[in-house]
């Protein structure tokens, strides 16, 4: 088995590729570092000079506006230079191989590559081929991982709930295709969350998911009972009708989050969503905009968490 490619020989973060395999101390350090950046994002001058003179390349092989923007904001608040490359419409479509693209950009003196790719594991391939001073941050690869999203979810949970070892968390919807779900599951189990549940029809639950340390529920009301937090997953349009699901309506009826279903959770339950939301498909507007929702704070925390990750891989965090 190869060495965990995310950590350098001192056990520090060299790349951020997945939460799977990250030691508890590293996760806790990300959350603590993010705390120190929350203040920055609330100041009038929202900048610290930690990454001054460094170049961050946003390499998006798959279209994304939201994640790319939050990485861009995080890098700029650290005073880095940000270069956005929308590769989905450039060199790859001209037949250039992934490694050639990376070698070319590397020749342009990058310090951090933020990578989104449609294939699971693509950031690992890139991380194996970059120079020692270059760092790779996975911004979502296939169904595999979206570690900064997972970390910001953990940050949000910690903000509202403090102690992970007392929590019951339910993740609802399309777990099969969700990198967000996988990252959060690994984060929660690493931090000692005793009860992690996944809820959805069997067509959207991957084989052997119990081995990741979760309990599977087909019935949403059962699964939501006494939960401290509910994380709703986005259901892609193209999956709403076909072999996985008969219709968006039936999905909403049984797995969409409504105030009525949420009533069986704890009274102080929080509701999270990685965005963008499909109102009326996985979540009802009254819940998305209601008192339990922490969906917008998640976005704010996301910037601080991404600042923390970038400064840590670059080895410049306090």
């Amino acid at each position: 088995m190869q060495r965990n490619p995310q950590l350098n020989r001192n056990g520090e973060l060299q790349h951020l590729l997945s939460i799977d395999g990250l030691p508890r101390e590293v996760i806790e350090r990300v959350l603590a570092t993010a705390d120190s950046f929350i203040g920055v994002t609330e100041r009038e001058v929202k900048k610290v000079p930690l990454l001054r003179g460094k170049s961050v390349f946003n390499l998006f092989f798959e279209p994304s506006t939201r994640t790319r923007t939050t990485f861009e904001i995080a890098a700029k608040r650290l005073s880095a230079d940000v270069i956005n490359l929308n590769i989905a419409v450039s060199s790859q479509s001209k037949g250039e191989s992934l490694l050639d693209t990376v070698a070319n950009l590397s020749a342009m003196q990058a310090d951090i590559f933020v990578v989104r790719h449609g294939s699971s594991g693509a950031p690992y391939l890139i991380a194996r081929h970059v120079k020692p001073h270059e760092h790779v941050i996975n911004a979502g690869d296939g169904r595999h991982a979206h570690p900064t999203q997972g970390l910001l979810d953990l940050y949000t949970l910690r903000h509202y709930k403090k102690d992970f070892t007392q929590l019951t968390v339910a993740i609802v919807g399309d777990v099969l295709h969700s990198r967000v779900a996988r990252s959060l599951i690994h984060g929660l189990t690493t931090l000692g969350t005793p009860e992690v549940r996944v809820i959805g029809p069997q067509t959207l639950i991957p084989a052997g998911v119990e081995a990741l340390g979760v309990h599977v529920y087909g019935d949403m009301r059962e699964g939501l009972k006494d939960c401290d937090a509910v994380v709703m997953l986005r259901l892609q349009n193209e999956r709403m009708r076909g072999a996985l699901l008969p219709s968006a309506q039936e999905f909403f009826k049984h797995y969409g989050l409504t105030a009525e279903k949420l009533a069986v959770a704890k009274p102080d339950v929080i509701v999270m969503h990685p965005g963008p939301m499909n109102r009326g498909v996985e979540i009802d507007s009254s819940v998305a905009d209601g008192p339990h929702s922490v969906i917008l704070p998640q976005v704010t925390f996301g910037i601080a968490v991404r600042m923390a990750v970038m400064s840590m891989v670059a080895g410049v965090s306090a």
Binding site: M1, Q2, N4, P5, D20, S97, L98, L99, H117, S119, S120, G121, A122, Y124, L125, D141, G142, R143, H144, A145, R179, R182, P206, A207, G208, V209, A211, L212
Partner: protein
């Protein structure tokens, strides 16, 4: 031309012989053994100096990439690889470009192979035109031009009506049909065994029942038609159990496994190592143990290299996008020796699965050391370690999960029809 090998630890897996001795080859065939061989006056004598001399290996699946994919490998490079690995007979699947669906193509391939004068080549003809599963090939014509069996390679038939007709037609002539059991709808889009590892890595899975459902369909049709079927590249525990039961029932079925699947499982994918992207996928540890047990008890008739040269551009890709397959001709012997050592098997029994057993599947007399058999031998040191490096490999395919490993079994010489076709420098 006559050749004698002396001072050999002569192993004939077919008879179970494992004893010091001599062997004499005349006119391409084994002419005498031991005392009779000692009395002869051959043109050349090779001193084995205590090393093992066994029948040359017989490999039922080696892709040579000709015609059509010469950028991946050529007949010349792969035939060099074969004899460097001690393989003296090999069957090539029909998935070339174009596929082996016309006698002219088969003829040309055999002629090219004969001109190279290295390993013996046994083409497996396409079962359907262009492997498209719509029209039967002219099997009788293809057999006349030298095809030993008919197959869809890794392109499973979608249409069970077509499968039924193909088995009926092949049965009329007594031809064997070689089938990779993979239900196409269940295999679609998958790149790894559907289980904990695929879920963790977020890789689309192929369930084991994609294999067993296909085996079930094939066995049912065999019961109706009586066709001889060889199942290629078993990968699952349940698949092995089904073949075991079918053999007990008396169905004319045989099967093989790729040698990589005896050593690796899905855990070895590690952090998306595309060297472990194989077809069929590496399954669980439990499946690997069941495959091993199947080889040991003979449920699995033979082990093949499933040699698949893949170029670097196609391999150095994210796992799902990487081309499946690994180079194997030069690893078949070392990996089998390693398997035999791990399972504490007598050498003759280990070698049977890569010599006389696959020869029986091919319907040829190779793979044994007896008077009159083809003079195909391999001389090797079963203990000497070999480090596997890109430069060391003769094959144009340099990709294998075992790159950098040290494996036992150094081939020192290979003989085909009494001619030394490979000698280690």
């Amino acid at each position: 031309m006559s050749l004698r090998i002396v001072n050999a630890r002569l192993i004939d897996p077919a008879s179970g012989r494992d004893a010091m001795g001599e062997v004499l080859i005349e006119k391409g065939r084994i002419a005498a053994l031991d005392a009779d061989a000692r009395a002869a006056r051959p043109e050349r004598t090779l001193d084995a100096a205590g090393r093992v001399v066994a029948p040359g290996l017989v490999d039922v699946a080696a892709r040579l990439r000709e015609p059509g994919e010469e950028y991946k490998a050529t007949l010349e490079s792969e035939m060099d690889a074969a004899v460097a690995g001690g393989v003296t007979s090999l069957a090539c699947p029909p998935d070339t470009d174009p596929p082996l669906d016309e006698p002219g193509l088969v003829d040309m391939l055999r002629r090219r192979a004969r001109a190279l004068a290295r390993a013996r080549l046994y083409p497996v003809g396409a079962l359907t035109v262009k492997l498209q599963g719509e029209t039967l090939t002219e099997m009788a014509e293809l057999a006349e031009s030298g095809c030993v069996a008919f197959s869809q390679a890794n392109v499973p038939l979608q249409d069970t009506q077509m499968l039924w007709r193909a088995l009926q037609y092949a049965r009329s002539f007594g031809f064997a049909v070689w089938l990779r059991p993979a239900e196409p709808w269940l295999s679609r889009g998958g790149v790894a065994h559907d289980g904990e590892i695929a879920t963790r890595l977020g890789l689309p899975g192929i369930p084991s029942f994609a294999e067993t459902i296909a085996i079930c369909a094939i066995l049912e049709i065999m019961r109706a038609t009586g066709t001889r079927v060889h199942l290629c590249r078993l990968s699952s525990e349940a698949g092995v159990a089904m073949v075991r039961a079918a053999k007990r029932e008396g169905l004319p079925v045989s099967c093989d496994v790729g040698v990589h699947h005896l050593h690796l499982c899905d855990v070895d994918i590690g952090y998306f190592d595309s060297q472990c992207r194989l077809d069929p996928p590496l399954r669980s540890q439990r499946d690997r143990e069941a495959l091993s047990a199947g080889v040991a008890d003979g449920t699995i008739d033979c082990v093949c290299s499933d040699h698949t040269p893949v170029d670097d551009d196609a391999k150095h890709q994210p796992f799902s996008e990487a081309a499946p397959g690994a180079t194997g001709l030069e690893l078949l012997l070392p990996l089998m020796l390693r398997w035999g050592a791990l399972h504490k098997r007598p050498l003759a029994q280990t070698l049977a699965r890569i010599t006389c057993d696959p020869a029986r599947i091919l319907g040829v007399r190779s793979g044994r050391i007896e008077i009159g058999a083809p003079g195909d031998l391999v001389m090797f040191d079963p203990e000497a370690p070999v480090r596997l490096t890109r430069d060391g490999l003769k094959s144009q395919g340099k990709n294998t999960p075992f790159l950098g490993y040290e494996l036992p079994g150094r081939v020192d010489a290979t003989v085909v029809a009494g001619k030394v076709v490979y000698e280690r420098e």
